[in-house]
Amino acid sequence: MSVVADREAAPGGLWSRMSLGQKHVIWAWGFLAVPLIFYAVIRFWPTFQAFYLSATDWSITRPASFVGLENYRRLVADPLFWQVFRNTFMYLILGTPISLLISFVVAYYLDRVRFMHSFIRALYFLPFLTTAAAMAWVWRWFYQPVPIGVINDILSSFGIPQQPFLRSTSQALPAVLAPAVWAGLGFQIIIFLAGLRAIPVTYYEAARIDGLSEGAILRRITLPLLKPTLVFLVVFSSIGFLRIFDQVYNINTNDPGGPLNSTKPLVLMIYQTAFSSYEMGYAAAQTVVLFLILLVISLVQLRLMRDR
């Protein structure tokens, strides 16, 4: 545009004396200038700041002053933290295998279905496009006692006793997890379908000629070749479950994370520490712990990917 005009208008200018390679470099840094400022200010600086804040007693009422590892000491001694830590891992340990098992089974069979294939796929995929905060309210309604709650109504029509769901310390966490699993299935199914389709048909044909059973084909061909997809989905959904917040916050707004903190995940604890108790420094230490947990998961992923 204007650069071209400059070059023609001022043959003696600095720009025209540059070699093509030099111009190339200038264009590159020109393209990167605004994004680099963005990443420096919005990503890198806050990252360092988060580590620094985690070592301060910053709160709304007083400016940050350095307290070293005090916040971490307090966190380790806080029984609520260990409860929350346990809950967070329960979301992960229940959510990831259950959702991956269901989505794999669905994808495995859906891959062979031709009749109304894209319609059925759409049925499974639709929940992925919903807003978690909105769906938490739908599920909250489902879990209500008779006569409002759909699930208890169905149970009672079969003569099964009423379940407390969100009101019970043992049932609340799975009840909160269900909408998260439900909403994530569609994504996992689509990714599994893509992975299944990437396996060359000739492998299957060869296996059939060799007389392998469907079960043997699944074990010896499909699953091994699906490993990269599987690793990606394990990590992706693990990170999702470790960061669960929207559902938990909305499904019990009277007492988020309740009853008795039995559904409270780490991100909700961070939110409450920072924006209900205004202990920003302490909350920052909790975010660093979340970071470390996610870092370990990512490193395990890298390791698994290299082994393939």
Binding site: H24, L32, R43, V150, W182, I209
Partner: protein, 283 residues
Amino acid sequence: MTSAASPQGLPMPRIRPGRIVAWTLLFIGGVIMVTPLLFMLSTSLKDASQVYDLRVIPEAPTLDNYIEILGDGRFTRWFFNSMIVAVIVTLSNVFFDSLVGYTLAKFRFRGRYIVFIAILSTLMIPTEMLVLPWYLMASQFGWLDSYWGIMFPGMMTAFGTFLMKQFFEGVPNDFLEAARIDGLNEFTIWWKIAMPLVTPALSALAIFTFLGNWTAFFWPLIVTTSADLYTLPVGLSSFAVEQSIQWEKIMTGASIATLPTLIIFLFLQRYIVRGVMLAGLKG
């Protein structure tokens, strides 16, 4: 894959009883998957007296809940806020992520690798960790309770940059060289020549960014304090708390938050599914 036409005469008949059972189970599972959505929609079309009647097809469907809620003005405002935020952030990502991805894929210069690693490394930092510094930044610069305050953290993403870089690497250099010989400047080459060649990736990026921002809850909840600036999920949450047990009103609000993405999906199903596959496999 398991097509019925098998030239070697392998035992693969067109229809087996197992197939029909599998299809039926898949179909039932799919219906169960959309049941929460059906209940949400059907209850939004019922009046307060019918809520306890759990039939999916309402006896006397009515749009009164929608008229009341949309007439109140708050939901239209929140809808508008969410739309503004999601559209601007999406456009920004489509522009900047692909510009950076293109630069990293197609330019050779000292520092390229460091820039790439630096941007990629931000993927390791969960946004929850940055939320407190962002909040501090927003309050110092007066960004709390503003559109910019909601949008600024997501204007560019490493995920999008990485995705676009992968795709630009597949664009043949000959195309770009030919354009250079024709005297086009580098910006025009990127915008006019390279960008049209990666439209599937661009649509994947746009779909993911829009969906992510449309449904975002955590950061908008933190950064907005006045109801005028709530996004739809945050507004719905505050609205639902205030309605307490008026489930037909809450379901109407939830439908308003959910329907736009579902309707978009009905029209763009092919692109969205392909986009998810692309992003999932390359990203």
